[in-house]
């Protein structure tokens, strides 16, 4: 049983999804899906412990030895991402579904849970597998269910948002597939570790350069890295808030993981950062993403769209850490992966709480809500402080490492930009806080907060943003190990 944990990690949610459709009863399915997701979390944690104790775990699917067979390979990096994905899924699944945000009636809610579990299986699969083609297949499983989940939004624009995400996502997936084909053509293997060994002799060929370009662009589409982020704002705005919470905290993060894995394990540090000089491209784009995303967020009137644009800026921080390609920078990128997942997942759950009492997600409609829904709005303030990066929140931890990484390379301008874009975050968070707490209308309002069943999961995430701001052992500690492991072969 114990030695089969890696396989169970993906097989469990994958098999549970059709069972949800068979069970049908909404209450029953919800409990079942929650149990499955929480078991995934337990598996992810035990895998992380195992990896931290005994080093990388290799699991041969069906008993076929790699590189011919498919291998699940778990090292510090993907064990860490597995824990993030499973944690976010566990919190989101505990959040009660609000009928008013969904297109489907209550008796069809089991479909939501089936899609959710499929998406989870895909995301966990991408992270855990050690086979490139497997990554593509799981990527499509998670993406297809994500398109459908987004399309469940009540607003009809959710449908068009889902469709344009489908078009862009499929192109991204096909690009990744072409890239995999090209590296397979040169090496005859699909195993990631094996590729890392067989690619160096052929790195100079144009085929490999093309493969590199296709793979990086393809994953960047899935990652919503600037300027390939066009699908993201609409998708997060019109999707049901719980879906936005789950996807913003996991889907883009897993794409980031794939990018890191490709750059460091498959192509290798020397090729990516010394021959191709990816930093020259990625660093300016990350800086633009940080500034443009934050500026766009300032001008939004819809709170979900504001959070979506802020996500683009935050993804900029993560790719910035990647482009710095030193220990502190990469640690910053990886730790921000976790931290931003917590913050943004928490904030979208806050919106879900607010939407249980407020009609529309427009910022205007939150007027005076600080008194009416104190707990919900306080959660927004704490999450917002995390986005800004106030000391004592997780946002500070990530930015601290990023600034250290930039200074280490002597890039003072970059360090300045990290701080400057944090100031932009102050503006867009403040705009919402001002409407919530400092509106002029002084009428006696009744306290009518979101139900406890919604507040509890929200505060779990928001509380975690504070907790991990102080105790950085699990986040920054593991991220630093992962970064050191990735850079180990190179520097």
């Amino acid at each position: 049983m114990i030695e089969h944990l890696p396989a169970l990690q993906t097989v469990l949610p994958l098999l549970a999804a059709p069972v949800c459709v068979l069970l049908r009863r909404a209450a029953l399915v919800r409990v079942f899906a929650a149990l499955v997701t929480w078991s995934c979390l337990a598996i992810a944690f035990s895998l992380l412990q195992e990896v931290l104790r005994n080093g990388a775990v290799s699991y041969e699917l069906g008993g076929w030895a790699p590189p011919l067979g498919i291998e699940y390979r778990i090292d510090v990096l993907n064990a860490y991402v597995l824990v993030l994905v499973a944690t976010m899924a566990s919190v989101v699944i505990a959040f009660p579904l609000a009928g008013r945000e969904l297109r489907i009636p209550k008796e069809r809610f089991f479909l939501f849970y089936a899609l959710f579990l499929l998406c989870l299986a895909g995301l966990l699969g991408i992270t855990i597998t050690g086979d490139l083609f497997n990554i593509f297949v799981f990527l499509e499983i998670s993406s297809l269910s994500a398109y459908a989940l987004i399309g469940l939004g009540r607003d009809r624009r959710a449908l068009t948002a889902a469709f344009s995400y489908l078009a862009m996502g499929t192109v991204g997936g096909a690009f990744i597939l072409i890239g995999i084909g090209l590296v397979y053509q040169m090496t005859g293997t699909l195993n990631i570790v094996d590729l890392g060994q067989r690619l160096p002799p052929v790195l100079g060929t144009r085929t490999v350069w093309m493969a590199f370009a296709f793979l990086v662009v393809g994953t960047s589409i899935k990652l919503a890295a600037f300027p390939l982020h066009q699908w993201l704002p609409n998708a997060y705005t019109y999707a049901p808030s719980v879906v936005s919470a789950f996807l913003s905290a996991t889907a883009t993060k897993v794409a980031y993981y794939v990018l890191v894995r490709l750059l460091f394990t498959v192509f290798g540090f020397a090729f990516v950062f010394e021959r191709v000089q990816l930093t020259a491209l990625l660093l300016p784009l990350s800086l633009i993403a940080m500034v443009v995303g934050s500026l766009a967020a300032i001008y939004q009137t819809d709170i979900k769209r504001l959070l979506a644009y802020s996500s683009i800026a935050q993804i900029g921080y993560m790719t910035l850490g990647l482009s710095l390609a030193n220990l502190d920078g990469l640690t910053g990128g990886l730790v921000h992966l976790f931290n931003h997942g917590l913050i943004k997942g928490g904030l979208f759950l806050v919106v879900a709480c607010a939407l249980s009492r407020v009609e529309s997600p427009r910022i205007e409609s939150l007027r005076g809500m600080g008194k009416r829904m104190p707990w919900t709005m306080a959660a927004f303030v704490v999450g917002g402080l995390g986005l800004i990066g106030i000391p004592g929140t997780v946002g500070f931890v990530s930015k601290w490492y990023l600034v250290l990484g930039a200074l280490d390379k002597g890039l003072y301008f970059v360090a300045f930009m990290i701080l400057a874009s944090s100031l932009l975050a102050v503006i867009y968070v403040w705009r919402v806080v001002e409407v919530m707490y400092f509106s002029d209308e002084e009428q006696a309002v009744e306290r009518h907060d979101a139900p406890l069943s919604m507040l509890l999961p929200t505060w779990v995430l928001i509380g975690a943003t504070i907790y991990f701001g102080f105790d950085t052992e699990l986040t920054a500690g593991v991220a630093e190990k992962a970064a050191a492991y990735l850079l180990g072969g190179a520097s």
Binding site: F133, E140, L144, G151, R156, T160, F163, L166, A167
Partner: protein
């Protein structure tokens, strides 16, 4: 290995560009799905063509043993999966289009955009 000798790549590139062009330039959502399909087919053709060995046949040991020159079967198998993914994508895309038609009464992207703008 002259330019024409690589004709399989030219076909792939041509199909890919046709698919991408349709996806970008057409306003009709069904046509967009078609463009996406052509795009995906080009990738599948690419994978299958790189597996081909000149004079190669199916990877089956002939009766009585002996060597046989065969094409690489792995990409073919992988592409079966990719085809399934393509079918699923098309199915989901068309299902979304049905919903969009029910909600907007149109599947022309410019008209839909117009309606969204009018709403705001």
């Amino acid at each position: 290995m002259n330019i024409l000798g690589l004709w399989n790549y030219w076909i792939v590139i041509a199909l890919m560009m046709i698919g991408l062009y349709i996806l970008i330039a057409r306003e009709n959502l069904v046509k967009k799905v078609m463009g996406l399909n052509i795009f995906q087919v080009s990738v599948i053709m690419f994978w299958v063509s790189i597996a081909k060995v000149r004079g190669g046949t199916a990877p089956i040991v002939p009766e009585g043993g002996g060597d046989v020159l065969y094409s690489n079967p792995l990409p073919h198998v992988l592409m079966l999966t990719a085809i399934v993914v393509g079918v699923a994508t098309t199915g989901l895309g068309l299902a979304l289009i049905v919903r969009i038609y029910e909600a907007y009464g149109s599947i022309e992207e410019d008209q839909i955009r117009e309606m969204d703008r009018a709403e705001e």
